[in-house]
Symmetry: C2
Subunit: 342 residues, 2 copies
DNA sequence: GCCCGCTGCGATAACGTTCTCAGCGTGACC
DNA sequence: GGTCACGCTGAGAACGTTATCGCAGCGGGC
């Protein structure tokens, strides 16, 4: 038994002859080791847990694909859980995955402030890599896109085209109402670790304005009531039907893009004549509408790959300082933005 | 130890008092049972394996969401693997999942003819539920959409509008070239168990023609070279630029829809004036283009739910005859189809 | 010729549960 | 008062691996 184990695991000392015999035998009876038993003793399961908001969202679907690709390459498989951005669900999911003894966790934290359960996982020796959001309350690797720069570039582009009234449709789940006032406040240079992705992207919007010396009209930044297409449509509709409506509209993720674009269609606005429009995430359909959408592209697959790679390194014993990997976005200028009519 | 186990698992006989003591103790030290050890003895892992072509595809993303929702409800979690429609990868994946001792498997078989590894899993006691495709070579439950009826309805609609030359863009990976001739042959009523989804959908196209007494021009059914957007674009471009081009175009899944629609855009065809267009899968963007796309809608989430439910029943010991669950599609008539100009 | 070291292998503990079984105490019935 | 039944508990096996350890055998050096 022990010898067989050594032969298969080839560690320790086994003569070439016996090894061959063992291999032949296992081959013949179709022996497959029981990975549960193995995991018990090695304390490694070779699987990682992925907890994301919603796999049906194209963004997470792309990221998860990247994760699974890289994980498989490294010999890990992937347990998938959806949270719908609910912290309680996330907590349960993490507990469950820990019970299943995953070797590591990749998570898009529902609330970047409520991360004790993630800290708990780390303490128990399970490395955690954050995706899509950074949390300053957690000392963990994080792979995100440079959210601030992304929208900053988009808004700079619009400002350069002469736009002065630029609307933004953002889902901003406000943990504390005070933060909201704070966000629009003067401190635009603070660390973004306490910001979720949408807040960080809004920050880019604000910074671009400041850099250009253009004042921000707070009534142009729209918080959607709920994080879904319908909420975004409503918010955009309200914004686009008011007197003195913006000449340009920026969305901050693909759900907001669909929602806002729906409002544009309903109101039968002409792009880019009536309105310049900037989308988020380079999905297939954005080149299929007329005009094609100018947008911010995130390297979804790469986000996943990098996160998985980082996690595998951690699992393999890397204990350097946690890193924040900021991947660059691409700003793709297509037909939906143009110089403001004067 | 044994008593504690009984108290927690509440089976066997334990006095109320001891149970309370045990519960208190576990509470205090934050005891969490090791599910590996438990699984070893119970031979149940409470996890299921999902092997699909590509989680980044909106169809599978939606289905997998349905699976995870239902699985979680039943206390299972989900191991996810992508195959990219490659049988060898699928075989490996199944072997891996079996090693991990999943309680059941949900798989969209890459090749409905090569399913011995799935039969093997069944033999070893791991139930298998197929999704999106049926295999007559495997005695397993399957949850699909009524593929034949879906395209049959779509084509009937077009025929009713007076179209006589209806193109179809289908990815038809042909396992044996003979089958291709066979598919267009006279035997339209055979069991669809040996057909993958795209072949079954093509069958609906053929049947609708036969029912209407309209002959099929084989040159209008296009096999894409590869299963991707680019392949579909090329095929559609070729079809739409030939002399005597079709007056209507039917696509057979969401990838083909994007690809074909891209060709329509390139060629700057007017919908539905120059061409009537039928898409597949009711994705958000299909209402965002002008005109909105007439299409076949699949209940993606429900496919996943039903598959998971069926699998859980099997795991719980149900051993009735395998069932083929055919979910109905919805045909949504929107703006991209119209009566043929006469 | 003896001893030492090295090689190969089997016995055995360990991982953390569940489950079976036997034993023990107590109460009731004969 | 004895016996039987029953409720509860703890000891121990089992699940299938890996890891440690000691032992046997053998060759070489002194």
């Amino acid at each position: 038994m022990a010898t067989a184990s050594r032969a298969l695991g080839n560690y320790g000392r086994v003569s070439a002859e016996t090894r061959a015999r063992v291999l032949a035998a296992t081959e013949q009876i179709g022996y497959r080791p029981n990975s549960l038993a193995r995991s018990m003793i090695t304390r490694r399961t070779n699987s990682i847990g992925v907890v994301c908001a919603d796999i049906a969202s194209p963004f997470f679907a792309g990221v998860v694909r990247g994760i699974t690709d890289e994980a498989k390459r490294a010999g890990f498989d992937t347990l998938l859980v959806n949270t719908d951005e609910d912290v309680a669900t996330e907590r349960e999911a993490v507990a469950l995955l820990m019970d299943k003894r995953v070797d590591g966790l990749i998570v898009s934290a529902a609330d970047v402030r409520e991360v004790e359960h993630l800290a708990g996982a780390q303490e128990r020796g399970t490395p955690v890599v954050l995706i899509d959001r950074i949390s300053s309350m957690l000392d963990a690797d994080a792979v995100t896109v440079d959210d601030v720069a992304a929208t900053e570039e988009a808004v700079r582009h619009l400002l350069g085209l002469g736009h002065r009234r630029i609307g933004v449709i953002a889902e901003l789940r406000i943990e504390r109402e005070a933060d909201w006032a704070n966000l629009l406040g003067p401190d635009l240079d603070r660390d973004r670790g306490e910001l979720n992705a949408s807040a960080a992207r809004l920050l880019g919007y604000l910074r671009a304005h400041r850099a250009a010396g253009v004042p921000v009209d707070p009534s142009l930044v729209c918080r959607t009531g709920s994080y879904d297409v319908g909420g975004a449509t409503e918010a955009a509709r309200a914004l686009l039907t008011r007197t003195n409506r913006p000449t340009a509209l920026v969305t901050i993720d693909n759900v907001m893009t669909v929602g806002a674009f729906r409002a544009v269609r309903e109101l039968d606005l002409d792009l880019p004549g009536d309105l310049s429009f900037v989308g988020f995430d380079n999905l297939d359909w954005t080149t299929l509408v007329r005009p094609a959408l100018t947008l911010v592209e995130q390297p979804m697959h790469e986000i996943g790959e990098q996160a998985a790679r980082r996690l595998v390194e951690r699992i393999s014993g890397d204990d350097q300082e946690p890193r924040r990997i900021l991947l660059p976005t691409s700003f793709l200028v297509r037909g939906s933005t143009a110089a403001v009519e004067s």
